[in-house]
Amino acid sequence: MAGSNPNAKPMDLTLKVWRQKNKDAAGQLVTYPVKGISPDMSFLEMMDVLNENLLRSGEDPIAFDHDCREGICGACSLHINGRPHGPERGTTTCQLHMRHFKDGDTITIEPWRAAAFPVHKDLVVDRSAFDRIQQAGGYVSVNTGGVPDANEIPIPKTIADKAFDAATCIQCGACVAACKNASAILFVSAKVSQLALLPQGKVERQTRVENMVAQMEIEGFGACSNTGACAAECPVGISLENINMLRREYISAKATSENF
């Protein structure tokens, strides 16, 4: 079956892939040639082809995280030619297609690099630090049941839309991987902004920002130095405005907090 572009010719590529047995082992880039790659393949389908070849020759296939392959679950996390999720803006690795590469290209594939994201194996990293930051305050404290009717909380559309923009974060970690300091501030700010904007989240806004930022520091993420690389590489376009909002929230919380 031909794809959407019947004139596209299959490509031969050279991959340099980070291989690392486990978190304690030393890793290295290993070179693999791949042949006959259709431009209509997704990047991960190209990895599938390579893995099937490795398996058939009895070699250990390359471990990488992936699940929905629709750009929403945030599992895929490849650093491709020095960029998180590769060369296309606003695109997760799973939605990156091989038509963005040329026959004969050499492609370097590495895991996210950050002290707070240790490598489990090959291209799979441990992003549980993100979960722990969310556990520190990324919620509204309501139990199931006993809540008001949904339309008793009217929210101006402009505010709701802004909160929504922040809520679209897929927790992939590209922001951390893009940052020279491995800062998680864009990720943290997205949740802080979403809930600070909405009336439901205002009650706990002070403790939330304090606790989430504190957890971020405990996890060993670096400091923000305003380069904006995070937002430039974010596959879902989380805006730097959220970082401004986080800073305002943080300063205002600290100014009134007993921890000041």
Binding site: M1, C68, I72, Q95, F130, G138, A150, K157
Partner: protein, 644 residues
């Protein structure tokens, strides 16, 4: 075995309230003495685990993903139904109930569906309170749209990512309980067996996917919220990791599996582009609100188009067949999913399909763009159009989309009673993992509703009734039943690793998927199903002789993970075929070619098949045993579904 659905007595509208009053309660001070295991942390699992924690139970939650936020509920796009009647357009709990029973082609249990419609309104309140950013009108109130065959606007939505926003709500509630210490979360951990003591579910055996370590966990009750089994087909819209292993291993331990042949093929997916394809991408069927489905009127035009002799824009209006509008004037492009899918297949079977493979139909937005302008269409569907363009390299604002049906959802699942308990005491199944609410076909925007209804509002009540009647003593994981289950898991793992054959796991999975798609997909017949059964058996034998799994157990080994899952799909696939073969009627997503009306619509046989087929496992390769739960319809009149 007699299947007792435990439906409460009394009028439909009063059953749930009455039942909630009649169930036993666990004293608040005693709740901490009970442990509950929840497997799966999508909408049904995360909401249940969080709510159990809030109530005071000790919860252990497990997911195979690296974070609960990645569960496949996240990928749902379109929306969530609720009978709020905010639009004043005649919706009600009874209408949502009625639509769901009818849409399911009268193969769902009335009492469960009515309860689902009742609690649907609470879900929206809960999610808004959590900060879920649903779409809103300028006045600040919630927006609704009409969705997938409904004639009222009852669908709440969050752009094209309602699933992600609802899951993040449930995930945030779960996180709060994790922080409080009421829920202990085990990510990257896969359930591989169920442990039973004295005939009751008392724990699970899991494999740590990073270290390979096999561990036991004991509890007073186990809730499976592990999703559907669409990946039997290899190609589906499910996530790559979605699997049936937890449910299947519970089935092997005695939980009956109901209506396995009821699978949903979703009409609006991006067509297959090559044999390397790893999954199919769904585009929300909300697209059918504005898109018009068509194929060329004649086979000749379709052929010329496929060969590239003409382009789509060369085909004049009068040479296009808007077949859904033609055949179903009342519902047009908004007919239910099974009807839309089957008609696309019919067009392609006639030779009028488009795209290089001929396995696609057009979904055309030209009229909508002319009517409302491109910005309005972009505001509604921008992310879907972008996704389509990214995958196909074509611009849907200029050229109609090409779509084709793909496996999307499985209505079948573990049999549960009104309390969502399986045939194993203490084992519950919620969300897509159970069979209960959607009959033979699920309506759009109802999966999210069911997952959250089960997790937030149903199982937290019903599990209390079970726990209140049992002593709170804990069972040690040193109990022989745990050791036996651990050995069982290790035996399967060792067997998979020892074969060292020549064919890869994906190879077998793809072969199984093709058999299922060709013979147990959108249309089935007895001859094909018998052939499929023999083929699956052959393939399964070959799998256990010739599969190649590299590496060892004691490491992150994604090939081994897949091998466990495909081993189970190879058994479940055969059960689906058995079920499809035995059900000599057509209903909803189950279309038997022998049973159709003169107009090619599904022809039910209510006399003989108005029952739930619940299958008992009798050993691999043995004929499973059929148990029937008769469906009684006291509030809805059974009619031939008509969308004309």
């Amino acid at each position: 075995m007699i299947l007792d659905s435990n439906i409460p007595e009394g009028p439909l509208a009063e059953k749930w309230d009455k039942h909630k009053f009649n169930v036993k309660l666990v004293n608040p001070a005693n709740k901490r003495k009970y442990d509950i295991i929840v497997v799966g942390t999508g909408l049904a699992g995360a909401s249940a685990a969080a709510t159990f924690g809030e109530l005071g139970y000790n919860v252990k939650a497990f997911c195979f993903q690296d974070s609960p936020r990645r569960a496949h509920s996240i990928a749902a796009q379109g929306g969530i139904n609720a009978a709020k009647n905010y639009q004043n357009d005649g919706d009600s709990v009874f209408r949502l109930f009625y639509d769901t029973v009818k849409g399911g082609d009268y193969r769902a249990r009335e009492a469960n569906v009515y309860r689902l419609a009742q609690v649907s309104v609470d879900i929206i309140d809960q999610c808004v309170a959590q900060g879920v950013p649903f779409a809103r009108e300028y006045g600040g109130l919630l927006a609704n749209r009409s969705f997938g065959g409904a004639q009222v606007s009852r669908t709440f939505y969050a752009r094209g990512q309602t699933g992600q926003q609802l899951l993040l709500g449930a995930y945030s509630a779960l996180n709060r309980q994790i922080a409080y210490g009421k829920v202990k979360m085990y990510p990257r951990t896969e359930m591989l067996d169920l442990v039973m003591v004295d005939g009751k579910a008392r724990g699970i055996v899991v494999r740590n996917l990073i270290t390979g370590k096999v561990e036991s966990h004991s509890a007073h009750a186990v809730v499976l919220a592990t999703g559907g089994y669409g990946n039997v087909f290899f190609l589906s819209t499910n996530a790559m990791g979605s699997n049936a292993t937890a449910a299947w291993r519970a089935h092997r331990r005695g939980a009956l599996f109901a209506n396995p042949c009821f699978t949903q093929i979703h009409p609006t997916c991006i067509p297959v582009s090559g044999d390397y394809q790893s999954k199919l991408t769904l585009m929300s069927e909300s697209l059918r609100n504005d898109g018009r489905v068509w194929v060329p009127k004649t086979v000749e035009t379709a052929q010329r188009l496929r060969k590239g002799e003409i382009t789509v824009n060369d085909i004049k209006e009068e040479d296009r067949d808007y077949y859904l509008e033609r055949k179903y004037p009342a519902f047009g492009n908004l007919v239910p999913r099974d009807v839309a899918s089957r008609n696309a297949k019919l067009m392609c079977d006639e030779g009028r399909g488009v795209g290089a493979s001929g396995l696609a139909v057009f979904l055309d937005f030209a009229d909508a763009i002319k009517r409302e302008g491109q910005p309005a269409i972009a505001a509604k569907y921008g992310n879907l159009f972008d996704m389509y363009a990214k995958i196909t390299d074509e611009n849907p604002y200029e050229k109609p989309m090409r779509i084709y049906p793909a496996v999307h959802y499985t209505m079948g699942g573990l049999w549960v009673d009104y309390n969502l308990m399986t045939t194993i005491p203490g084992l519950y199944a919620t969300g897509e993992c159970n069979f209960s609410d959607h009959g033979a076909n699920r309506l759009g925007a109802s999966a999210l509703m069911q997952g959250l209804a089960d997790g937030y509002f149903v199982v937290p009540y019903t599990i209390g009734d079970y726990l209140a009647k049992m002593p709170n003593e804990r069972i040690s994981t040193e109990h022989p039943a745990f050791k036996e289950a651990e050995q069982n898991v290790m035996a399967i793992t060792n067997k998979l690793l020892s074969i060292q054959g020549t064919r890869t796991v994906d190879d077998f999975h793809k072969a199984l998927g093709l058999i299922m798609w060709d013979y147990c997909g959108m249309a089935r017949n007895a001859e094909g199903l018998r052939f499929a059964k023999a083929e699956i058996r052959k393939l399964r034998d070959e799998f256990w002789r010739d599969v190649k799994v590299t590496g060892v157990n004691e490491e992150l080994n994604q090939t081994l993970e897949k091998a466990h899952r495909v081993a189970d799909f190879l058994e479940l696939g055969e059960l689906m075929v058995d079920d499809a073969l035995h059900r000599e009627e057509s209903c909803g997503g189950h279309f038997r070619e022998e049973y159709q009306t003169p107009e090619n619509e599904a022809l039910r046989d209510d006399e003989n098949f108005a029952y739930v087929a619940a299958w008992e496992f009798t050993g691999t390769g043995n004929q499973p045993m059929l148990h029937k739960e008769d469906l009684k319809f006291e509030n809805v009149k059974l009619t031939q579904r008509s969308y004309k």
